[in-house]
Amino acid sequence: MTERRAARIGVVCALVVILAQLIVASAWSLGHDDPTELALTRQCLEREKGLAVETTNDPIAASASGGALATVVEGNAVTIGVARSEAEVERLRSAYSASGDPGTRLDLHGRYVALWHRDPSPTQRQVTYDCAY
């Protein structure tokens, strides 16, 4: 066997192995979607915190690229938008502040932008933090 022939067979075998891996991955990705952060948050709020979660009518939250939801935590309504970047977090914050400073009603937690109806208590905030992914 020549070196060239061995190398060619090696390349073909390696391509077959890698192709097989890609086919498995492609087949899986066609049939499955990883849950989004918003889906995970919704699931957490509903299943672990026992809250009723709804879609939101808040146009600012609804413009978040990661999606938005609304719920009521210990009697305090909150709208949560999920951003995808620091720039988007800043955009949402600016939009909420455009019509007056919301103060501590506006809570930024990483990519999560939450607007509370009233100033949230630490335990209320903690509920949303627990369900942030």
Partner: protein, 415 residues
């Protein structure tokens, strides 16, 4: 090139926060106990009590010396030792290429570049960790064995190979498959040549070095290959889900190759960690808290690394297959050392990852596979050299491509 590699590894070791390396605090505890009290640590004293002691003894002793002389923190000599071992590995792979493929200068150069620019080796060389020392010692053992198999096994070369491989096993257990591969090839060679003395000497010396450690582990912890946690009960086949073997999110390894994506999916997890930094322990803030944002550029830099790694990975796999075929066809014992040792290391690694599943994926690390790097780099270099078109233009293009492979990675490799 070697001077540049030495400077890179030393710079990184000097600037890398030793506590961010794998098992750093447990490594420090182990080194402290071994160097101060001249004994092995108990289970309660270090989380890495299951690791053989050679590197810890060296790093601990050098660290104490540094502290006494007031030359900085006690872990820096251990990091510099890891860096030196990384550089020695590069040199040994170059020499191994010359022994196995004399007069093939392109192959020698390519193998050196591929090893030197391997992100897994560069990262491990900055850590307070024994991995690179074990790789250097094992590669030294393979080099001596390969040279002896190509010329003539003497008692001296057999003792030297056995000693280097035994010391490698006394540094990390990942060297054991390499030792086994060398002994299998040496045994087959002895069968052919009817000269058993070198084979026996190589085995005896390595076993003499390794046996006390294995006996201690068996007596103290109930298994010669004890790990820091017991394996779960039940069948090995039930310990990992199908996603571990199939890697369904492999495609995302090129797009978002960082934790927690595809955690515990063997192929994408390993690939992302080899070419980049899946667990975010290198030149990045620690993994973000839930909902926190990764700094801009961290993911894109690792995605670029993952993209760069596609072709070299393909060539490495192709090379190992090609060398396996060629060594079989030509009955070349020295060539067989490379694919056999790589297969042994990979098999041991997969068995380990299945035997000890973990929810956080900490038993899947690219650095565990560094022992297969010399064989992989030489394999890739062999395929490139065997298939490259001849001529000045192609040679220039090849040099440019190699330079680009290194240059594109430099922002990631330099701390």
């Amino acid at each position: 090139m070697l001077i540049a590699e030495g400077a890179l590894l030393a710079w990184n070791a000097w600037h890398y926060d030793w506590l961010r390396g794998y098992d750093a605090f447990a490594n420090e505890q182990y080194a402290d106990v071994v160097s101060r009290e001249y004994r092995l640590p108990s289970v309660g004293e270090s989380g890495v009590w299951h690791t053989p002691p050679l590197w810890f003894a060296l790093a601990g002793t050098l660290g104490r010396l540094t502290t006494v002389l007031g030359l900085g923190h006690a872990q820096r000599p251990g990091q510099l030792l890891a860096a030196a071992a990384g550089l020695v590995t590069c040199i040994l792979v170059f020499l191994l290429a010359r022994v196995l493929f004399p007069e093939r200068r392109v192959l020698h150069l390519v193998s050196l570049v591929l090893v030197a620019a391997s992100p897994a080796l560069v990262r491990a060389s900055a850590m307070y960790h024994p991995e690179t020392l074990a790789v250097a010692l094992a590669t030294g053992g393979v080099l001596v064995a390969a040279r002896a198999l190509r010329t003539r096994w003497t008692l001296g070369s057999a003792v030297a190979a056995g000693a280097l491989l035994g010391l490698a096993c006394l540094t990390r257990a990942w060297a054991v498959p390499v030792l086994v591969a060398v002994l299998v090839v040496a045994g087959l060679n002895a069968w052919d040549t009817r000269r058993w003395a070198p084979f026996a000497a190589c085995g005896a010396v390595s076993l003499a070095l390794l046996a006390p450690w294995l006996v201690n582990q068996e007596l103290a912890h109930g298994s010669a290959l004890a790990f820091n946690r017991p394996p779960p009960s039940g069948s090995m086949l039930d310990r990992r889900p199908a996603s571990f073997y199939l890697g369904p999110r492999s495609l995302r390894a090129l797009e978002h190759p960082v934790t927690p994506l595809f955690r515990n999916e063997l192929v994408p997890h390993l690939y992302a960690d080899w070419w980049g930094d899946w667990a975010l322990t290198w030149d990045s803030p620690p993994p973000p808290a839930p909902a926190a944002l990764l700094p801009a550029g961290i993911v894109s830099e690792r995605a670029r690394q993952a993209f760069i790694g596609v072709l070299p990975s393909l060539l490495a796999l192709a090379g190992l297959i090609a060398l396996g075929l060629l060594s079989g066809a030509r009955r070349s014992a020295s060539l067989a050392l490379l694919p056999l040792s790589a297969v042994g290391v990979v098999t041991a690694y997969v068995v380990f990852a299945v035997r000890y599943p973990s929810t956080d994926g900490d038993t899947i690390k690219a650095t565990y596979l560094l022992m297969a790097l010399p064989a992989a780099a030489l394999g890739a270099a062999f395929v490139i050299d065997a298939l490259r078109p001849r001529g000045r233009v192609w040679a220039t293009a090849g040099v440019v491509a190699l330079g680009a492979l290194v240059a594109v990675q430099l922002p990631f490799l330099i701390l």
